[in-house]
């Protein structure tokens, strides 16, 4: 008995994507033409970057069998073909997830950013960065493409030695994370200590996506979707007491649409100190004033013992941050604390190795029960080596393990790159991994083999890659089959003033 199928495709959706595709191309061409013609009087620089991928997604399907067809063993309950099933108490049916059809789509992204300067006013410029994204193909619905047109930045800037003003859509990346807003910022620079003080704020954008929090994208939240857009305000101060040390403090508050109702309120600290050029201390911490607990924190000490050896170790803490417009804080999330050790060894100038080890322990949850317990300790370790044989050949390989409380990964890869020409790179890669996901049974091993090509000039880059993955030793056929093809082709192109100044 089928109880769930794949998402249905409808004509309306197809029409939407057709429209998007036309808009995708049209806007890009229009922007190029406009840029080229209207901006001749100024200096400008533009980057267009695009990619089209081919992605196969291995779907899961929920299915059920009558409980009378299920046999009970010491290892659990199984249906006739040895597929593990779950039988809810009192239900006449047992349920399981099996591998569903392979979904295929062509996700496409076009990024265009434009920098216009040289207006005869020192430090004045306009900057905009826009992203268009869509997906093509029979199964395009499964790929996230919202918003199909997104303005990531669009601001006017006046930047001089002592100050900087911005007006428009911008984002801040600071010790508290990555936050977008429609508004402005004022930054003042002064001595002593190369001090900077910045005030920023405006209409808040949702976290991790450049749309307002009451955008239709969040309609699936139903009654829990915020009805009003919120406000973001932040104050950041940083200083460099010496060339070897730096400090930053940032305070940020986000209001809901209703005045005085706080969504988030946090303060963060960052600091670095190079005791001597070879010895460093880096630290950060943030405190959630709304929830009343520390969030992320870390302290890391590094020592370049000699040109061959570098070692570092540190403490870390992580507790996720949520908004008071969501329910999540009601569940009392706990933090983990941990330590890590890392070392880099460079026995030869063209040969290097990195090794790392990390241990984490979660704080007490007070939610353990006798019939279901999981570990509260994680660990991870890995090694990676890079060998640049000569101008033409380089090799890179690594192995790492990650054991967590609900998921684990055992993985390795080996890559070789050949550079027959200064502008051309050809690469091959081989990988293998085993993975346990989200408290699910899993089995087998995925093997991957891929090729890539990159042609890079001072004006831009063209690249292509294709990968094949095969999942073998799937003892239980209900285990999701990861066998698939993936491919991508893309380009970046710089034009305008000083097009050779690529990143």
């Amino acid at each position: 008995m089928r109880v769930s199928g794949q998402a249905s495709r409808c004509a309306g959706t197809r029409l939407r994507f057709t429209r998007t595709a036309v808009a995708f191309t049209g806007v890009a061409v229009a922007w190029c033409l406009w840029s080229a013609s209207a901006l001749q009087a100024q200096q400008w620089r533009m980057r267009i970057s695009s990619r089209v991928q081919y992605v196969e997604g291995q779907s899961l399907q929920r299915d059920s069998v009558p409980i009378s067809d299920v046999r009970v063993t010491n290892d659990g309950r199984f249906k006739a073909d040895n597929i593990f099933v779950t039988c809810p108490t009192g239900s006449e049916y047992c349920y399981y997830y099996g591998s569903g059809p392979t979904l295929k789509t062509y996700p496409s992204v076009l990024d265009a950013d434009l920098n216009v300067f040289g207006f005869g006013v020192e430090g004045l410029r306009f900057y905009a960065n826009t992203r268009f994204q869509t997906a093509f193909g029979a199964d395009e619905n499964f790929w996230p493409v919202e918003p199909e047109v997104a303005v990531l930045n669009a601001y006017a800037e006046l930047n001089r030695r002592q100050y900087r003003f911005r007006l428009g859509r911008d984002y801040t990346v600071n010790g508290l994370g990555f936050f977008g807003y429609d508004g402005g910022s004022a930054l003042v620079r002064f001595n002593p200590w190369w001090t900077q003080v910045e005030l920023y704020g405006g209409r808040a954008l949702a976290r991790g996506i450049p749309v307002p929090i009451n955008s239709s994208i969040f309609d699936p939240l139903g009654d829990l979707k915020p009805s009003d857009n919120g406000w973001l305000i932040g104050l950041r101060a940083s200083a460099r007491p010496s060339t070897s040390s730096s400090l930053q403090v940032v305070y940020q508050r986000q209001y809901t649409g209703q005045s005085d109702y706080i969504a988030t309120e946090r303060i963060g600290f960052e600091g670095s100190w190079y005791v001597i050029p070879a010895v460093s201390l880096l630290g950060h911490a943030d405190y959630d004033l709304a929830y009343g607990d520390w969030g992320k924190a870390g302290l890391r000490a590094g020592w370049q013992i000699n040109p061959m050896f570098y070692a570092e170790g540190g403490y870390l803490r992580y507790r996720p941050v949520f908004s008071l417009q969501e329910i999540w804080y009601a569940f009392s999330p706990v933090a983990y604390n941990g330590w890590n050790l890392s070392t880099a060894i460079r026995p030869l100038p063209n040969l290097s190795f990195k090794l790392w080890l990390e241990r984490r322990q979660y704080e007490e949850t007070d939610a353990e029960v006798a019939f279901f317990t999981t570990t509260d300790r994680d660990y991870r370790f890995g090694i990676r080596g890079t060998w640049v044989l000569n101008e033409m050949w380089s090799f890179d390989g690594g192995y790492w393990r990650n054991h967590g409380f609900g998921a684990a990964l055992n993985s390795g890869d080996l890559r070789v790159a050949m550079k027959p020409h200064d502008q051309l790179t050809l690469g091959g890669r081989f990988s293998a991994w085993q993975q346990l996901e989200e408290f699910r049974l899993n089995q087998g091993r995925v093997w991957g083999l891929g090729l890539d090509l990159r042609w890079r000039t001072r004006q831009g880059t063209v690249w292509f890659s294709v990968d094949r993955y095969d999942h073998d030793n799937r003892g239980d056929q209900a285990i999701q089959d990861w066998s698939q093809w993936r491919s991508a082709v893309g380009f970046s192109y710089y034009l305008g003033s000083e097009p050779g100044r690529t990143p």
């Binding site: 997604g57 779907s59 929920r62 659990g76 593990f84 779950t86 349920y95 399981y96 979904l103 950013d113 960065n129 499964f142 990346v173 010790g175 994370g177 991790g208 996506i209 699936p220 940083s238 930053q248 109702y261 960052e270 670095s272 050029p277 890391r300 590094g302 370049q304 996720p320 008071l324 417009q325 009601a330 569940f331 999330p333 983990y336 880099a344 790392w356 949850t365 939610a367 029960v369 019939f371 279901f372 317990t373 999981t374 994680d378 409380f405 609900g406 998921a407 990964l409 890559r415 790179t425 989200e438 408290f439 699910r440 991957g448 990159r454 991508a488 893309g490 000083e498 050779g500 690529t502």
Partner: protein, 282 residues
């Protein structure tokens, strides 16, 4: 005496001719001034240039500086130098040492320095382009090139990350939500692939490693609440954990400070409770 004068004149003429014909590559092999050879020169030369850019102009054209200083247009001292387009090609073939801070782990460690010393980063990195490759979702797969090493830099997410990101995300290796909105990004894809809850059914057997997951998931949820959102919308959890409806199972842990949260946002309690749970009679 006459021969000596002729010899001297010839030698001088040859030296002048050699100097005039000196190629750029040979110029690069001229001995460096003493102060260029200290370990601190790379990080400290800005102050020296600001105090006496004329001294720099003896050997350096503007294009030499802009080989590293991607913000050259914003630095008046560099703009004050003479331009020599031929130098751009010469500089393109040079490699410059990375600062001592840029160890092999710098990609993981850079937040404190980047947050408090953005001015220094902008010397070599075009913030809007190079930083956004990672900090705006890594949608464009163009790899930034390390100016100092002439090689492509690995992206934030390592090779094959999309295929095996589950472990990193579930174990909160980093804060995914900072760049990826769980509702719009994670849940959308997981739902389309049949991995996320598309209806409000519970105990469907997805978390099948232990049959007791449905009633014993509390510890896992408090440890990994952030990753639960990648598949479960808020309504899903409220079926059992709301005081308004359903099983009304209290999800609050020890030390849950409802009063503090209500003070910050009086609407917070209303997400799950009718009325004011801290003042039921009020």
């Amino acid at each position: 005496m006459r021969h000596r004068a002729t010899f001297s004149a010839t030698l001088a003429a040859l030296l002048v001719a050699a100097t005039v014909q000196l190629g750029l590559a040979q110029t690069g092999q001229m001995p460096k001034p003493e102060n260029h050879q200290t370990a601190e020169f790379l990080s400290a030369h800005g102050g020296q240039a600001q105090s006496n850019i004329q001294m720099c102009s003896v050997c350096h054209a503007r294009e030499y500086c802009s080989g590293c200083h991607v913000n050259a247009q914003d630095v008046p001292e560099i703009q004050a130098l003479n331009s020599d387009p031929a130098v751009a090609d010469y500089v393109a073939g040079l490699t410059f040492p990375a600062p001592p801070s840029h160890t092999l782990f710098f990609l993981d460690d850079h937040r404190a320095l980047a947050a408090s010393a953005t001015g220094s980063c902008a010397v070599c990195h075009v913030v809007e382009q190079q930083c956004q490759v990672c900090h705006l979702g890594a949608e464009t797969l163009e790899r930034p090139r390390a100016a100092s090493q002439r090689r492509d830099v690995d992206l934030y997410h390592p090779f094959n990350f999309m295929q095996n990101h589950a472990t990193a995300a579930f174990n909160q290796e980093t804060e995914c939500a900072s760049c990826h909105n769980p509702q719009a990004f994670c849940l959308e894809c997981h739902s389309g692939l049949g991995r996320a809850s598309r209806d409000l059914r519970t105990n469907t057997g997805y978390h099948n490693r232990n049959g007791g997951f449905e009633f014993g998931h509390g510890q896992a949820a408090r440890q990994g609440l952030e990753s639960c959102q990648a598949c479960h919308a808020q309504q899903y959890c409220l079926q059992c954990h709301s005081a308004k409806l359903g099983r009304r199972i209290n999800p609050h842990g020890p030390g849950f400070d409802a009063q503090k949260l209500q003070n910050k946002n009086p609407a917070f309690c209303g997400l799950c409770h009718f009325g004011d749970p801290l003042n039921p009679g009020g």
